[in-house]
Every structure is written in C-alpha cells, then in structure tokens.
C-alpha cells in the first residue's frame, strides 16, 4: 500500500503562485478600497486579518477531525499524517487569531484581553484544547495506538468546536456591547468583498502550508527509506509524535 509519490508535491506549484496573488489582491483591497468604518476608524482594518484567521483555523480543526474519521475507518496511516498537519497549521492560525484579536482589543478597548468578546474567548478555549494534542500524543508510546488515540482526540475536539462557540456566545450578557461590533448587522458591499477575498487568501495559504509540510515530511520519510535500503547509518532521531509519511 505505497503512497502515490507525486501526491504531496502535486498541486503545490499552482497553490504557491495563487496564494501570494490572492494576498496581493486582498491587501490592496484592504488598504485602498475598503472604506474607513464609522465607529472604529482605521483600527477596524484588523477585522480583515483577525476574523479570516479565526474562521480558517476553525475550518482547519474540523478538517483535521474529518481526516481523523477517515483514518479510523480506512486504517490508512496517511490520514493520521493529514490530520496531524491540519491541526498543526490550524493551531498556528489560532495563535495568530488570538494575538491579532488581543491587539484589536487593546486598540479599541484599552485592554489586552476582553472577556465579553465571544469569538476571542471561544478561541482561547479551543486553542487550549488543541494545545493539549501534543502532550497527549507524547504520552502514548506505542506508535499505532498513538495514531488511533490522536484520531479520537481530533474527532472529539472537532465535535467540541461548534458546541463551544454556541455556549460561549450564549453566555454573553446582552448588556455588554461587543467589542468587534463590525460583524454585526450586515457589511456594506465593499467591505464584504474585501472580507471574502481575505478569507479566500487565508484558506489558500492554509492549504499551501499543509501541502508544504506534508511534502517535507514525505521527503524525510523517503530519506529514511533510502538509508534503510542502503544500510547507511541512521540520521538524527526524528520526532516521537509527528506521524511518519512515506
């Protein structure tokens, strides 16, 4: 059951061209086309960065959960690698969402953190959960079992994400005004266009990075294979948790 060798690098070329093009368009739209918002002024431009990062991270976590389901059903170790990398990139995106959200909060509310902004708080909880993915994997020594349990974790966490958002959003007292009120009450057309372009760029970047990382892991795996075939000395020890890709 060998993997198709061209599988990881394939499509990376058009993706890595499309991504910067998409970003060029998006950034131009953000700074030269989208109008300055009435309430928050120039600060609102962070919206085009923070929210797409957040949305892409969430979708990425769910994609990681889907790959985990496929891993358990088809018992194909490749899906464990896809799940792991999807979660890895999404955790980085979630970090970015939290940092940009914090900067936005500081700019508009004066504090580096606000508890009455549901997106930010839900994100913190989701981030804390997925951060435990790594020590969790590390604690299980048997490789196969590690992959299986990690898939169960990814599925559970994936089911958790929408539930968490629901609960946090509902816990918001209607008295507090939301900090990032831009998302409420319909965006004007020009902002909507910019916003959609930004989401598309973030999603493209996410896919590019996932393929990139899978391709690097595959190269590492092929190198290991070569070493073994030639009885060459083994290289530096590889990670105990990252799934091997061949």
């Amino acid at each position: 059951m060998g993997a198709d060798p061209s599988m990881y690098g394939k499509g990376l070329r058009p993706l890595s061209i499309a991504t910067p093009v998409a970003f060029a368009i998006t950034l131009s739209l953000v700074f030269f086309y989208a109008p300055i918002e009435a309430d928050q002024g120039f600060l609102q431009k962070i919206f085009y960065l923070h929210v797409p990062l957040a949305i892409t991270a969430l979708c990425g976590f769910i994609v990681g959960g889907i790959f985990a389901v496929l891993h358990l059903r088809r018992d194909d170790p490749r899906y464990d690698a896809y799940s792991y990398v999807s979660i890895h990139i999404s955790v980085i995106y979630a970090c970015g969402a939290l940092l940009t959200g914090s900067i936005w909060a500081k700019g508009s509310w004066g504090h580096w953190w606000v508890w009455n902004e549901p997106t930010l708080v839900s994100f913190l909880i989701v981030f804390l959960l997925y951060a435990t993915y790594y020590p969790f994997r590390y604690a299980i020594e048997d490789r196969q079992r590690q992959a299986r349990y990690a898939s169960v974790f990814a599925i559970t966490a994936g089911a958790f994400v929408p539930l968490n958002f629901l609960a946090v959003r509902m816990s918001e007292s209607l008295v507090h005004p939301r900090v990032f009120a831009t998302a409420e009450g319909g965006l004007p057309g020009s902002m909507l266009l910019t916003f959609l372009c930004s989401i598309a760029s973030m999603a493209l970047l996410w896919t590019t990075l996932v393929k990139f990382e899978l391709s690097a892991k595959s190269a590492q795996g092929q190198l290991k294979r070569l070493r073994r075939a030639l009885d060459a000395p083994t290289g530096p020890p590889t990670s105990r948790i990252a799934p091997e890709v061949h």
């Binding site: 120039f42 600060l43 990075l209 590492q220 030639l230």
Partner: protein, 79 residues
C-alpha cells in the same frame, strides 16, 4: 498618463500615525512574523534533509565504486 499615476500614488492613504494605525500595523506585522518563523523552521528542516541526502548519495556512490572495483580485480582480492 504619468500624471494620473502620480496623482493616484499621492492620493493613496499612508498609515495614519494615530493610535489606530499603530495597532493595525502591529497586527499585520504579527501575521507576517508568524509566517516568516514558520518558513525559517521549514528551511532548517530542508537543510537537514539535504545533508542527509548528500550522505546517502556518498554511501551509494561508494558502494557502486566498491562493486565495480570488485568486478575488475577479483584476483587481487584473493592475494
């Protein structure tokens, strides 16, 4: 045409130097930095893979040399 281009560049909004502008810049800088950190980590991985490939290529070439050397001079090996 040059005039309109020039006019367009002049009219383009610079980052306002007020509070809002600094935070927007900060946020976008954080994003760029995260991306660059990721790229540099992957670059280090790539360098390690390259080194490994070089080692393996040397081992393979060495084996090939030994094999052909063995073929052409079997008698000398015995003595």
């Amino acid at each position: 045409m040059v005039a309109t281009l020039y006019g367009w560049i002049v009219a383009a909004p610079a980052i306002p130097n007020d509070v809002g502008g600094k935070y927007v810049a900060g946020a976008y800088i954080v994003f760029v930095l995260l991306l660059l950190i990721y790229v540099s980590i992957m670059a280090m991985k790539l360098a390690r893979i390259e080194r490994g490939l070089r080692e393996v290529a040397e081992v393979a070439e060495q084996r090939k040399e030994d094999a052909t050397a063995g073929e052409t001079t079997p008698a000398e090996v015995k003595s």
